[in-house]
């Protein structure tokens, strides 16, 4: 199957869609208030460019902070829970329950508690991002190949060596998978808080554009944040692939 044919289909269908959309908008078949033409969206990029990028930067900064926290707590907690069996058995049902619970339900309380601004966003996003990482890492530590542990013990490995040389390398693929999930969860968390109770950031920008019925600007801003998100996730995937190659794993 040709990569060329695949590319052709993709490019052609997207172009056709855009042209049709432009045509429909110009013919007046849709209300430009709700569905702006692609050309209008393009022009809107220029108008809101500065504000949108500032908002995006703000959002990404909060996301980064929350992400670091989520990874540290998630991986650390996962290793702890994965290694200490009684602790894991006692705590696991709570973790699973909390993981499955939509955290949006506690968001109003968090905002009541922490007010508006960056803090609730970071806190909420951290909570959002921690759980998938925690659950994945706990499972990975628990499921480390028993044979490898026995081998290490047979060669006289002390406890810290066991962790450093066997457990940690063994869980790297899972940690990477968790990190990839985590970034989307954290970004989502920040955006939700910004929409709910924000004064800055992309979520707030999108919200106010929607409230102001500024459709072209809204579409432009949405496209911007979507593109940023795709780029971030794709870069993580590429990083992931390179790391796997270096570790000799199948991609």
């Amino acid at each position: 199957m040709d990569t060329l044919r695949v590319r052709a289909v993709q490019v052609l269908s997207v172009t056709a869609l855009l042209l049709a959309w432009e045509g429909v908008a110009r013919a007046g078949w849709v209300d430009p208030l709700f569905v702006p033409a692609p050309s209008a969206v393009l022009r809107a990029f220029g108008r809101i460019g500065g504000a949108a990028l500032a908002g995006l930067g703000d959002t990404l900064l909060k996301t980064a902070i929350a992400y670091v926290l989520a990874v540290v707590i998630g991986v650390g907690g996962g290793i702890l829970l994965g290694s200490v069996r009684p602790l894991r058995q006692a705590v696991n049902p709570f973790v699973i329950a909390l993981y499955g619970m939509p955290k949006i339900l506690v968001l109003p309380w968090i905002v009541l508690f922490l007010g508006f601004g960056a803090t609730p966003a970071v806190v909420y996003a951290t909570i959002h991002g921690v759980f998938p990482i925690l659950v994945l890492v706990t499972g990975a530590v628990r499921d480390v190949d028993r044979t490898l542990v026995t081998v290490a013990r047979a060669f006289g490995a002390r406890r810290w060596q066991l962790y450093w040389k066997v457990v940690l390398p063994a869980i790297v693929p899972t940690v990477l998978a968790g990190m990839r999930l985590g970034i989307v969860f954290c970004l989502l968390g920040v955006l939700v808080v910004e929409m709910f109770a924000g004064v800055r950031g992309m979520g707030y920008v999108l919200s106010s554009l929607a409230n102001g019925f500024r459709a072209p600007e809204l579409f432009a801003a949405t496209a911007l944040v979507s593109a940023a998100s795709i780029v971030i996730v794709l870069s993580l995937d590429v990083l992931n692939d390179h790391l796997s190659q270096w570790r000799g794993e199948p991609r």
Partner: protein, 260 residues
């Protein structure tokens, strides 16, 4: 020759969900330096448990296990190295890095480790695979890496728990020949667990036959014949018959049928 490994009155009982299970009962045996001692017996006879005791991974309920004059309480990588049936190579390490593992744990400096491991690759037949990862190696190669890892720490004793169990017949025979070569060159003491009669007869200087569970020593055969073994010779054919008759009863018992 002073006995390097002494096992006296050793027993082991496991508590399982279906009640207590006696894996070993009152085992006593000794292995001299430089020997190739094979433990053979039906499934569940406790040979792996016994090997685990020699390696310090399993503690005996009664009796004592003494290696090189010292009682065994925990794994001692200065005296005993172990090779398991599952090679247990670390998938994120190359062949060289896997072979170096024991040396790394011991804190040997990197350059020296690298040299020891690289020197071993020749006899291991893995010189072209130094930078490959386990998933790029065949089963036989992986087991050779595992054996290399055990040899790298240069212990007087090497324990092997059915190392060729997962390989096909031809590979097993070739690996056996290769192992003999290594054993004689490096003058190790090997304790080898198998359920293959052929391996026991082709490789060992001494064969210990164990009974079905609870495992006891049924008989000990000395094999002073020279290497490489002439498997069709009169003595070996007779020994094979003796060995088989010893094992057959125990295998039947292990399978749950009474001896005729």
């Amino acid at each position: 020759m002073s006995e390097l490994i002494v096992v006296e009155g050793v027993s082991k009982r496991y508590v399982t969900s279906s009640g207590p299970v006696d894996a070993l009962r009152d085992i006593s045996l000794s292995v001299g330096g430089g020997e190739f001692c094979t433990l053979i017996g039906p499934s569940g006879c406790g040979k792996s448990t016994l090997l685990g005791m020699l390696g310090g991974l399993v503690t005996a309920d009664t009796g004592r296990v003494v290696v090189d004059g010292r009682p065994v309480e925990r794994p001692d990588p200065r005296r005993v190295a172990t090779v398991f049936q599952d090679p247990g190579l670390f998938p994120w390490r190359t062949t060289l890095e896997n072979v170096e593992f024991g040396l790394e744990l011991r804190g040997v400096p990197a350059a020296h480790r690298r040299r020891v491991a690289t020197d071993l690759l020749g006899p291991l037949g893995l010189r072209d695979f130094a930078a490959k990862y386990p998933r790029e190696l065949s089963g036989g190669m992986r087991q050779r890496v595992a054996i290399g890892r055990a040899l790298a720490i240069d212990t007087p004793i090497v324990l092997m728990d059915e190392p060729f169990g997962a390989l096909d017949e031809q590979t097993r025979v070739l690996m056996g020949e290769w192992l003999l070569d290594i054993w004689r060159r490096m003058r190790k003491t090997v304790v080898f667990v198998t359920h293959s009669l052929h391996e026991a007869l082709a490789l060992s200087t001494r064969v210990v036959v164990m009974t079905a569970r609870p495992g006891r020593i049924k008989s000990v055969l000395q094999l002073p014949m020279p290497y490489p073994r002439a498997m069709e010779s009169v003595e070996l054919v007779a020994l094979r018959a003796k060995l088989w008759s010893d094992i057959r009863d125990e295998s039947l018992r292990a399978m749950g049928e009474a001896t005729p």
